[in-house]
């Protein structure tokens, strides 16, 4: 178990997290989650429905983003509420590097019962992919 963060106040920054998402990661996530929507693995179909290419599952992006919170909090069970709004797809090219997803977080509010609200900024290629990503974390 990782240590719980101490000295947390409004404005406390979480360590920045940079991940890469490849087509192989999309296949793995499809299997693990049971979301086999074709737009996450088939370029032809993705383009036919007007997408620029194969896109990541929104919930894969959301799941990666909340890792920044759980690794900071020291216990994934401390995340009592997590909400996201999807604003822009993460397009995953068919190459070895895939797409980059960067997560920054800061403590936005101290709540009662030792809980804090963490607001995340999640970007890919410099563009926000979640217009809202917010976790409530029980720190004690």
């Amino acid at each position: 178990m990782s240590p719980r963060p101490t000295g947390v106040e409004v404005g406390t920054q979480l360590p920045e997290q940079v991940s890469r998402v490849t087509r192989a990661d999309l296949v793995r996530y499809a299997g693990a989650s049971g979301d086999f929507n074709v737009i996450h693995w088939n370029e032809r179909v993705a383009r036919e429905v007007g997408l620029p290419g194969v896109i990541a599952h929104g919930m894969l992006t959301a799941g990666l983003a909340v890792r920044a919170v759980t690794s900071w909090a020291g216990d994934p069970g401390a995340v009592v509420d997590y909400q996201v709004r999807f604003s822009r797809p993460v397009v995953v090219p068919d190459d070895t590097d895939g797409a980059e997803v960067t997560v920054r977080g800061r403590v936005a509010a101290l709540l009662d019962d030792g809980r804090v609200r963490v607001d995340l900024t999640v970007t890919s290629g410099g563009e926000k992919v979640l217009s809202l990503a917010r976790a409530v974390v029980a720190l004690s």
């Binding site: 178990m1 979301d35 799941g63 994934p76 069970g77 009592v80 909400q83 999807f86």
Partner: protein, 148 residues
């Protein structure tokens, strides 16, 4: 086609029991590139105060995806799934989901809205143990883009 506001509050029969397995939790954590032993090693989980390995915060999507399908497939809802994108998602955890949980999912329609020709359908799924202990509430908002 606009969604019927009278659908709000409609609730669906509970799902069959889903038994949460250690391997499924580990598989899901691996798919997120999450190395935390709390998702794989029962000893590490117990050291953190949990009875068994716990799931990542978004694991409930595995159950709520399936449970939410009864709403999307409801002929009265009549949503065109080929035009659907995921707009919003929320998880409220009453406690962490853990290996050994035997969970039942109950879906209901929380809200319907039409904005600029797009239909927005908000589905709530309540996950509870088969004994009735509340575990997690998920809320999913799907957007069906209007035909151009």
């Amino acid at each position: 086609m606009a969604l019927d506001a009278g659908l709000v509050g409609r609730s669906y029969p509970p799902s069959a029991v889903y038994e949460v397995g250690r391997e499924k939790i580990a598989e899901f954590a691996t798919a997120l590139g999450d190395p935390d032993p709390i998702h794989r090693d029962p000893e590490a989980a117990r050291a953190a105060g949990h009875p068994d390995v716990i799931a990542p915060p978004t694991f409930a999507i595995v159950l709520s995806l399936g449970a939410g399908n009864v709403v999307v497939e409801d002929p009265d809802v009549g949503i065109d799934y080929s035009r659907v994108v995921h707009g919003e998602q929320r998880f409220t955890h009453h406690r962490p989901i853990r290996a050994g949980d035997r969970l039942v999912a109950t879906a209901s329609i929380a809200a319907v809205r039409s904005v600029a020709g797009n239909d927005m359908l908000t589905t709530r799924v309540d996950l509870a143990t088969e004994d009735g202990e509340p575990v997690c509430t998920t809320t999913s908002m799907l957007v069906a883009r209007g035909a151009a």
